[in-house]
């Protein structure tokens, strides 16, 4: 469950602007969606291999060159689908829990 959500969040973050892993990690850590950074790299690679993400290299002043990730066309379409599914799911969940509380 959580795994899919994590991918959804990554895609959403990258939809706004392109970012490099450290940025993504910071935001995910704030949201407490991620505990260790190592989790992110295999995810990014998988999403990239699925054709949802693309990256470019950028020289960094403080260290090695960085990979900046952004959404591809497919990624964008996929994200829209995910958005829809997510809304349906969250509506269903909030509806159910409200009914239950009543």
């Amino acid at each position: 469950m959580r795994k899919g959500v994590l991918e959804f969040c990554i895609l959403s973050l990258l939809a706004e602007k392109e970012a490099y892993p450290s940025d993504i990690i910071t935001q995910l850590k704030e949201a407490k969606l991620i505990v260790v950074e190592g989790t992110l790299y295999p995810l990014l690679t998988r999403l990239k291999n699925a054709g949802l993400l693309a990256y470019r290299w950028e020289e960094s002043s403080s260290g090695p060159p960085r990979k900046y990730y952004k959404l591809t066309e497919t990624g964008l379409l996929f994200l829209k689908e995910l958005d829809k599914t997510w809304n349906e799911l969250s509506n269903a969940v909030s509806h159910t829990t409200k009914t239950k509380n009543r």
Binding site: M1, R2, K3, G4, L6, P21, S22, I34, V35, V36, E37, G38, T39, Y41, P42, L44, T45, R46, K48, N49, S60, S62, G63, P64, P65, R66, K67
Partner: protein, 522 residues
């Protein structure tokens, strides 16, 4: 002062202390073995390395030059260990289970083997308990394919020898954590095995030879163990099944021999119904205990249950002893009924008559089909139950000289009993029929007692007394009485029928046995 090494991480050169390096090396190894086989693993690892380089850079700043132990530790905490990734990826793992199963390999598990580790190897693959597979395999043994199939699998499937293979067998990831865990486990095993003698010296080849011999003998030993186990198990189960069938048959009557049943025992032998129950319980305890013990031994051998299961032996022994005690009680109680000291014989002279010759024949008998019995029939064959009567075949028969001028026919009725009076009662209840027509005495080949009187070893002995100078002719039909008492003439039993006997000077002599006697004299 510490030794430092210079390493290239993510394209950057770092000076790193030796112990910190070892730790980092281990960490990266565990990560790469974790991602090994996964798509894009190289890329993931280089990404991670780049990030580690970045983190080192941040930590070192401008005032420090060397990466120390503490830095590596912090970085590992930030990046996380492989098992922490696994937690986050649990869902993907389950959703793509078939994929992760592909990493699982078939190996024979020698660490948990009964024979060759085929079943335990399968159990890792299927995620079943090896016990289930072994039970299935034992069932397969009853078919013709069982043993060849096992041998083929044994040959085809490699044994899990290395730690990596053992992990693959169990479908576990091959990473540093698992490997070191596994190795520790094995070290403990080895330690406990060799705690008594820790000798490991000796040349390599000798060691190899010893190892080879050891393997050979351990194979022979486990083969014997399994063979014995299966034998015991089958023996125990077979006997148990046989016993249950026998009990079933016994309670309903054995086909062709309906007398032999519990009802028979109840009706004709046991006076006291409690004694019958006691005897049956005793029989069950006495017989079932050893069968169960066989099964228990078989299971123990097959599953290598090393220390005996507590209580099993005691319980079975207890069953056996209890059975013996109950059997003794029933036997003693029953033996009283057949007390030989209380055996009673009543003699009843039947008839006296004057004649020169007496012909003795035996009536036709449909119950025993005129069976010729040179030797006494065994007790079960002698006994038949018809309606309300219990019939005994083979009355005893003898010829004796008579004191008077007349033929005398006597019947002795005998019986055992718990007391003299009881025995007397039994003896009086015996019925024996015969017919005297002219000078022909026709004897029944059996006698009877009322059914409810039960079997107390009742006997009938017939005596014909021959007066001086008179003779008795034994018809061929007296074969049926061949089991009678002929010892008085020193003749063989089968020679008696058809012979004539005379009383000469108060002694019974066979008058047409001369040929025989001559033959013997020759």
């Amino acid at each position: 002062m510490n030794k430092t090494l210079s390493v290239n991480i993510g394209g950057y050169i770092f000076n790193i202390e030796e112990d910190a390096y070892t730790q980092l090396r281990n960490y990266l190894d565990s990560i790469s073995s974790y991602f090994a086989g996964q798509e894009g693993s190289d890329e993931i690892i280089s990404d991670i390395e780049a990030r580690i380089a970045e983190l080192f850079n941040e930590r070192l700043g401008s005032d420090r030059q060397v990466v120390i132990h503490d830095d590596v530790e912090q970085v590992i905490i930030i990046m996380g260990k492989p098992e922490q990734y696994a937690e986050a990826e649990e869902d993907t793992q389950t959703s793509s289970k078939s994929k992760s199963n592909d990493n699982r390999r078939f190996y024979r598990d020698l660490d948990n083997s009964t024979l060759g580790g085929v079943c335990s190897g399968f159990s890792h693959h299927l995620g079943w308990d090896p016990l289930i597979l072994r039970a299935l395999f034992v069932l397969l043994l009853f078919t013709s394919i069982g043993i060849p199939l096992y041998i083929i699998l044994w040959i085809l499937i490699p044994a899990a020898a290395t730690t990596a293979e053992k992990l693959k067998m169990k479908g576990q990831k091959i990473n540093v954590e698992n490997i070191s865990k596994k190795i520790n486990e094995e070290m403990d095993n080895v330690k406990s095995k060799f705690s008594s003698d820790g000798k490991t010296e000796g040349s390599q080849s000798v060691n190899k030879l010893i190892a080879g011999l050891g393997e050979f003998f351990s194979f022979i030993a486990s083969f014997l163990r399994v063979a014995l186990g299966v034998l015991f198990l089958m023996l125990g189960i077979g006997m148990l099944i046989g016993f249950v069938i026998a009990i079933g048959g016994f309670s309903s009557g054995i086909p062709g021999n309906p007398e032999l049943s519990i009802r028979f025992l109840e009706d004709y032998i046991f006076f006291n119904p409690h004694m019958l129950s006691l005897a049956i319980i005793a029989a069950i305890l006495l017989l079932v205990a050893p069968f169960l013990y066989f099964i228990y031994l078989g299971v123990r051998l097959l599953l290598r249950i090393q220390p005996p299961v507590k209580g099993v032996g005691i319980i079975l022994l207890g069953m056996f002893i209890l059975g013996s005690i109950l059997a003794s009680i029933a036997a003693i109680n029953q033996a009283k009924e057949f007390n030989s000291e209380e055996r009673i014989a009543i003699r009843r002279p039947q008839t006296e008559f004057a004649s020169d010759t007496l012909i003795i024949r035996v009536a036709e008998d449909h119950l025993w089909h005129n069976q010729i019995s040179i030797h006494r029939l065994d007790p079960w064959e002698r006994l038949k139950i018809i309606d309300d009567e219990m019939l005994f075949a083979d009355p005893r028969f003898k010829v004796r000289p008579s004191d008077s001028e007349l033929f005398v026919f006597e019947i002795d009725y005998e019986s055992s009993g718990a007391s003299t009076t009881a025995a007397l009662d039994f003896a009086e209840e015996i019925t024996y029929n015969y017919e005297l027509d002219g000078n022909t005495l026709t004897l029944d080949p059996f006698y009877s007692v009322p059914r409810e009187r039960k079997y107390r070893d009742q006997e009938v002995a017939l005596t014909v007394r021959v007066p001086e100078g008179k003779m008795v002719i034994l018809d061929e039909s007296t074969q049926r009485l061949a089991s009678g008492d002929y010892n008085w003439l020193g003749l063989k039993l089968r020679e008696i029928p058809g012979k004539t006997f005379m009383n000469v000077d108060g002694e019974i002599i066979c008058s047409n046995c001369e040929e025989k006697e001559e033959e013997i004299a020759d």
